[in-house]
Symmetry: C3
Subunit: 295 residues, 3 copies
């Protein structure tokens, strides 16, 4: 670089002395995003080893390769949890030894939940296969379906959210959002046999509760009515509760702390802010359309 470039460099360096969050030069406890993505890849191996196998050098004995993958993922998760915990004020003054022990306990709790998580994901997998005539077989869904990818990451991130880990769940859910257009907050509670098709544009907010056998199509929003109060709404139930066996067709919106009863069907583009009793089909009145012929 020619020396006449230095004024710009110096101006940037001195701009870092203003004391804003964006001016911090070091954040020792910031979890490394790429490392979180690598952990997610490993967790896909832990959950679906046949479809996401370990590196070839381990392939002679697949059961042993699975064991090594699980152990490796536990080490990686523990390190990431250690780096993430101080982001929560509760942990700010903990010693490294205390953080390390807490991270070990959280990591073990997470991995103890894996068999239950796999049982749930098996119900999701079956629901997607049953509901989509374009699905050839289960392997195709595990390997290629964005809905199943997003549900898997949601179930991982939700467990870490439930265990009180800061930062990591949101980084994970935004990985899924980025890759699929499906934005499920890790705090949402979602029952078994969850079905998503296409998925682009789906939003499921933090305090949403969803029952079993629920189907969401692309563009469905389960959101808040207004967030004008901003941080004042922190932690309040501000998103819908959806019963069992509910289907929400493309671009339906349910906003606010609204109850949709069991067995409801909500049609495309329907916009709901009030409770709907069980077993109700809600659809738009037919649109008034103009037909203008040029022939």
């Amino acid at each position: 670089m020619e020396t006449n470039a230095i004024p710009a460099v110096d101006a940037i360096l001195s701009d870092y002395t203003r004391g804003r969050t964006i001016d911090r030069l070091q954040m020792p406890h910031r979890p490394d995003k790429e490392c979180v993505y690598a952990l997610l890849d490993q967790l896909f191996s832990v959950l679906y080893f046949g479809c996401y196998p370990a590196p070839a050098r381990l392939a002679d004995d697949p059961a042993e390769a699975l064991r090594m993958t699980v152990e490796d993922a536990m080490v990686r998760m523990r390190h990431l949890v250690i780096s993430a915990l101080p982001g929560d004020a509760r942990y700010a003054s903990w010693s490294m030894a205390e953080l390390s022990e807490e991270a070990q306990e959280i990591t073990e709790a997470f991995f103890q939940s894996v068999p239950g998580m796999r049982a749930l994901l098996e119900t999701d997998l079956q629901a997607i296969y049953d509901g989509d005539p374009a699905a050839e077989n289960l392997e195709e869904i595990i390997l290629a379906y964005p809905g199943f990818y997003a549900i898997t990451i949601y179930r991982i991130a939700h467990e870490l959210y439930r265990l009180g880990v800061p930062m990591l769940p949101r980084i994970m859910s935004e990985r899924a959002h980025s890759r699929t257009g499906i934005d499920i907050h890790p705090g949402a509670q979602i029952g078994a046999s969850f079905f998503i098709d296409h998925g682009t544009g789906i939003v499921v907010g933090e305090t949403t509760v969803i029952g079993e056998h629920v189907k969401l199509y692309q563009g469905v929003t389960l959101g808040a009515v207004s967030t004008r109060a901003g941080q004042g709404l922190r932690g309040k139930k501000r998103h819908p509760t959806i019963g069992n066996k509910v289907t929400l067709y493309a671009c339906a919106s349910v906003l606010g702390d609204t109850q949709i009863g069991d067995g409801c069907t909500i049609g495309s583009n329907v916009f709901i802010t009030k409770d709907v009793p069980a077993n109700t089909t809600v659809s738009l009145e037919e649109q008034e359309l103009n037909f203008h012929s040029r022939s």
Copy 2:
């Protein structure tokens, strides 16, 4: 890992003995996703060599570099087709030699289709340039436009779908969906001069048929009416047929085996489940809006 972590590991290992699809430790014929993505990258070089050149070490003689790229892509595709074919019940009992010969024939058929595919893609490229006043030049569209990226992958994946290859077409189309928000099933049939702008949220279902000079804007759905029958609908025509010179503006939906005649224009947010005759403009009645002034 401390030894007290082992209970979680053992529980996961024993969870893999339940006999579900997700419990298979090996799927020798599963195509490797990363390898499919690498093939796609090579195919972009095969199709648009100037914009997606081969590695620099080959750059002395570009025609020779193109030849090597094509040959390399053929080898890679043949291997991937071999790994994918046993996913179809037809091929389950074939010997490796038979699979290899079949894969060779499919690969050659695919590459023989490339000049025709490039001629089609040239019409798509021109349609995007002609239709978008923000487009600076053709190179920008080839390099950066998500619509053209998704159309290119669709035309590749559709050819493999037509040749009866399982798994690979869907992995490819989901690559495009992930990167662009445009979800075109490889089974759809789409004519020349296909135009997509913005594209996020577009869904084009498996049995859709689209004519020439058709334009789709963001959020357009060409979908099924209801998939309640699930796998019972497998292979049935359940998506629209769109004529020539039809424009569908943002978030228009056409559902079911519905015919939209040549020369139609379907306005933003219009929702159609019945046939529309040729040369018809369909628009929403103006929305009834509330205007409330606070001043």
Copy 3:
């Protein structure tokens, strides 16, 4: 590859002799996309060094590491600008020395704008935190929020667009579009304290002007009425002007060169093509819904 594959290869090679843009074997001035992405990664380090630190080998002295990162990013940007400039007819006949000098001046101008850009981005960061009750802290927004990622890339790309650099701004904005579903043209003009939540499906067209303290939710379109005239509309103001303190809820659309006055709130799914005076709340008449009970 067996020799019987050669006919397909030869057919492809001879297909490259037709003289179309897609037949060019070399585009020496084409900017390398991967290199643009690497520059974006470096610019995130330049802007938010604590959250996107330089490689570990540099970490002993973070201020020195920041300086090296800025200098390195300047070198990379200058090379990319040199490769991009000849894409504009103005520069077609310039010598390499002239291009290099011009690129140096553009690069310095860009980096001199960084402190101002960081001041703007600090207002955006604060607006996102204030407006989203699910946001834990500022670091989480910098690391994981797609809205903030897209706004950052927009402010970078807009500066390069303003400096007249071809190709690079659009490649950058499409990087953000691909990762977030948020499609902001680099030519748009956007004021301070810009807020985006969820974001998937947002479209902001080239000639849009947006004031300060504006909030956009997922699916909002600020677009053109019709682009039937295609390239004939090049450079014309064809997108909306949005005042200060305007909120646009999910899937609202404002089309054409339409003015939305200060302090307006535009409700979900509202579709606007005419001016709206200041301090007006526009909402849909309540939808006429059919409720059909099956119980």
